[in-house]
């Protein structure tokens, strides 16, 4: 099992709330999101499309659409500059300031589709050296040399030649490696990955995830990882935030979320995904669809889809219940007055299988070691 030792917090998102003005009215996309990213750690944000996971991290980068309004909250970023430690609120900076001071050099982002993230008219070398020349004030020659090293590091065969190539000459997996190299070129503290492997094949996906992990360990970067794939989350994350309708409904270490989930939505997500051991005849499907965020949400947003919903769920929003130091759940079921609801049986069986598998692996490893 993985040991969690908390580094210093490097990014703290506090009570972030964002809405969009649309022709149909105000859309409350983010309704109070808080989480902390510690140094060297990976936080995964999982959720369905429309849950607000991308908007949350885009606000860290300052990627805003014109109809967006930040209603509340702060994003505290701690970094050292000239040997001094500083904490700033990223939301207080203008877009231009942010680009000049943070984006790319301190906080970098990898996007889902590597073809749209790369400029088709510029060679790989030009795109890779751009950040280094601008932020690190390197000479073109030095940056080019460094670029070749970076490409080698991310596993591109024949990096010298690749610098001259254009994006269309490379495969999807190779392009995503280039995007990672560009993101890492200025030695950022934080790497934000927005569904970096969703567009890739499973075998390529596994390689890219491995690459992100090794780069992270080598450089001690903190990573925010956005995905809807709970399998990917299990591979990369130390810490998981489950998002639903613009709120984090459960937050905990990966083991807490997978082995001791408390929120019915998390149960549903875990059950809806068939694993290689699923034999049941039907998959557990969360009924219904996510709520319309144009309307004001009264009570718990998940209540209409929740088979364990209590009356109070329709009236009042559940507060945060702290289960352990790291584990938080927003559900009325945690209230001492609520009826006791056990984890669904099927999920319990799955958790048992998970534990079995890991102990079997421990035995195998120890026998190999001896």
């Amino acid at each position: 099992m993985k040991e969690i030792n908390y580094g210093e917090p490097i990014l703290e998102v506090k009570n972030l709330s964002i809405s969009f003005r649309t022709s149909a009215g105000n859309l409350n996309a983010i309704r109070g999101v808080s989480f902390t990213l510690h140094k060297g750690e990976t936080v995964a944000i999982v959720g369905e499309s429309g849950s607000g996971k991308s908007i949350t991290v885009k606000s860290v980068m300052g990627i805003e659409s014109s109809n967006q309004k930040i209603n509340d909250g702060e994003i505290l970023y701690t970094f050292s500059e000239k040997g001094k430690k500083k904490t700033v609120d990223l939301l207080k900076f203008s877009k231009r300031d942010k680009i000049a001071r943070f984006n790319g050099q301190r906080i970098a982002m990898i996007f889902q589709d590597p073809m749209t993230a790369l400029n088709p008219l510029l060679s790989i070398g030009d795109q890779l050296t751009e950040g280094m020349i601008r932020h690190l004030k390197m000479s073109k020659k030095d940056a080019w040399k460094r670029g070749i090293e970076l490409l080698d590091e991310v596993g591109i065969p024949n990096p010298t030649l690749c610098m001259e190539n254009y994006p269309h000459q490379l495969s999807g997996g190779m392009r995503q490696r280039i995007v990672i190299a560009i993101a890492l070129s200025c030695n950022p503290d934080i790497l934000i990955c927005d569904e970096p492997t969703t567009a890739l094949d499973v075998t390529i996906q596994a390689k890219i995830l491995d690459l992100i992990k090794t780069m992270q360990e080598k450089r001690g970067i903190s990573v925010i990882f956005i995905t809807h794939d709970l399998g990917v989350v299990a591979k990369v994350a130390d810490y998981v935030c489950v998002m639903y309708a613009g709120k984090i409904v459960e937050r905990g270490t990966a083991e807490e979320i997978y082995l001791k989930p408390r929120h019915p939505y998390t149960w549903g997500l875990l059950l809806a995904l068939p694993t290689l051991d699923t034999t049941s005849d039907r998959l557990y499907a969360i009924p219904g669809t996510p709520p319309n965020l144009l309307k004001k949400i009264v009570g718990d947003a998940f209540a209409p889809r929740n088979r364990y919903a209590l009356n109070i769920d329709y009236e009042e929003e559940p507060p945060e219940y702290q289960i352990s130091e790291s584990h938080m759940v927003r559900s009325w079921l945690e209230n001492p007055q609520a009826p006791i609801v056990e984890i669904p049986e099927e999920l319990q069986e799955r958790i048992m299988v998970m534990l079995d598998k890991s102990s079997a692996e421990d035995i195998r490893e120890s026998s190999v070691a001896s």
């Binding site: 099992m1 993985k2 369905e48 499309s49 999807g172 094949d201 499973v202 075998t203 390529i204 996906q205 596994a206 390689k207 995830l209 491995d210 992990k213 809807h228 794939d229 709970l230 399998g231 990917v232 989350v233 299990a234 591979k235 990369v236 994350a237 990966a254 083991e255 979320i257 997978y258 082995l259 549903g268 997500l269 875990l270 059950l271 809806a272 995904l273 068939p274 694993t275 290689l276 699923t278 005849d281 039907r282 998959l283 557990y284 499907a285 969360i286 009924p287 669809t289 998970m354 534990l355 598998k357 890991s358 692996e361």
Partner: protein, 307 residues
């Protein structure tokens, strides 16, 4: 065994010419699907898995090979009679429900299109009744029949796609990545509908997907395809418990499993066709058991079996 085979594909080849080069998207593929079963096709993008589905339903004209559906040949030159037989027996569900539904048509007309072109109703009322019954079967209500596709969510649109395919009462459904574009919780809803309908109507599915856990869950037989060749084929137990071909093994090792205890340390098995000097066209089909097939030369198969 012979008589309960619904679909038989023999030496199917689908080449595409682009300029001077010919792309062999599907190169000599043969398989059978039993009536009432689900055959899963897996492979990476560009492996030719969608092309197989599209060649069978004649969205492409196959370069060579034979397709036999319910004892009748449906490949070769198409006649009006053959076409009618094909559309009444075989239907397809596509990946992107937004792109596969005509945005300018109402749901009722989209779903009824097959009925319209085959004159499968006596009057408007019967047409309407048939469509309403089908919509309700897939979990939509008939008040939604007058709406346009953009007014629905992704999961609902895919239900419309299913209704459109099912209303023809086909025997074989080709589902091409039909749940890949949906969210996890919605995926489960759609898969459950497909499974229920299969049980009710004795349907046969050709399920094309890249999500291996889902393919394992839904399929009885699985074909693993790489660069236009079936490299391994067998029951799902044979493929998942006793894989032989190194490509299958690498594919299986890459599946991200939702288990934080084992997943972070899992080793990826890599497969490089060129490095291992595997030539698919030199290999022959080796049957390890009645259903378990591996493509390779004698020497290769012996080597892989020994591992």
């Amino acid at each position: 065994m012979e008589n309960n085979t619904l679909l038989e594909v023999k030496n199917l080849k689908q080449y595409f010419k682009s300029g001077k080069t010919t792309v062999k998207a599907v190169d000599d593929v043969s398989f059978k699907i039993k009536k009432g079963s689900t055959f899963g096709l897996v492979g990476e993008s560009g492996s030719g898995k969608s092309t197989i589905g599209r060649a069978i339903i004649r969205l492409y004209d196959p370069t060579d090979g034979e397709v036999i559906l319910g004892g009748k040949e449906v490949s070769g030159k198409m006649t009006a009679e053959k076409k009618k037989y094909l559309t009444s027996k075989m239907q397809m569900i596509f990946q992107d429900p937004m792109a596969s539904l005509n945005p300018r048509k109402k749901v009722i007309d989209i779903v009824a299109e097959g009925l319209d072109s085959n004159h499968l109703y006596k009057n408007r009322k019967e047409r309407e009744e048939k469509v309403f019954a089908m919509l309700e079967r897939v979990g939509l209500n008939h008040e939604q029949a007058g709406r346009y596709p953009h007014m629905f969510s992704g999961g609902q649109r895919q239900r419309i796609g299913i209704a459109r395919a099912m209303i023809m009462e086909p025997e074989l459904i080709i589902a091409d990545e039909c749940i890949s574009a949906l969210d996890v919780s919605i995926q489960a809803q759609v898969v459950n509908i497909m499974k229920d309908l299969q049980k009710e109507r004795g349907l046969t599915y050709l399920f094309i997907a890249h999500d291996l856990a889902m393919v394992k869950y839904i399929s009885d037989y699985i074909g693993v395809i790489h660069l236009g060749h079936f490299v391994e084929m067998g029951t799902k137990e044979e493929i998942f418990e006793h894989p032989v071909h190194p490509y299958t093994k690498s594919l299986l090792s890459a599946i991200p499993e939702p288990n934080p205890l084992t997943e972070p340390t899992k080793k990826l098995i890599t497969y490089d066709k060129a490095k291992e000097k595997v030539d698919y066209s030199a290999g022959t089909n080796h049957f390890l058991s009645e259903n378990h097939m591996v493509l390779g030369t004698d020497e290769e198969v012996a080597r892989w079996m020994a591992v």
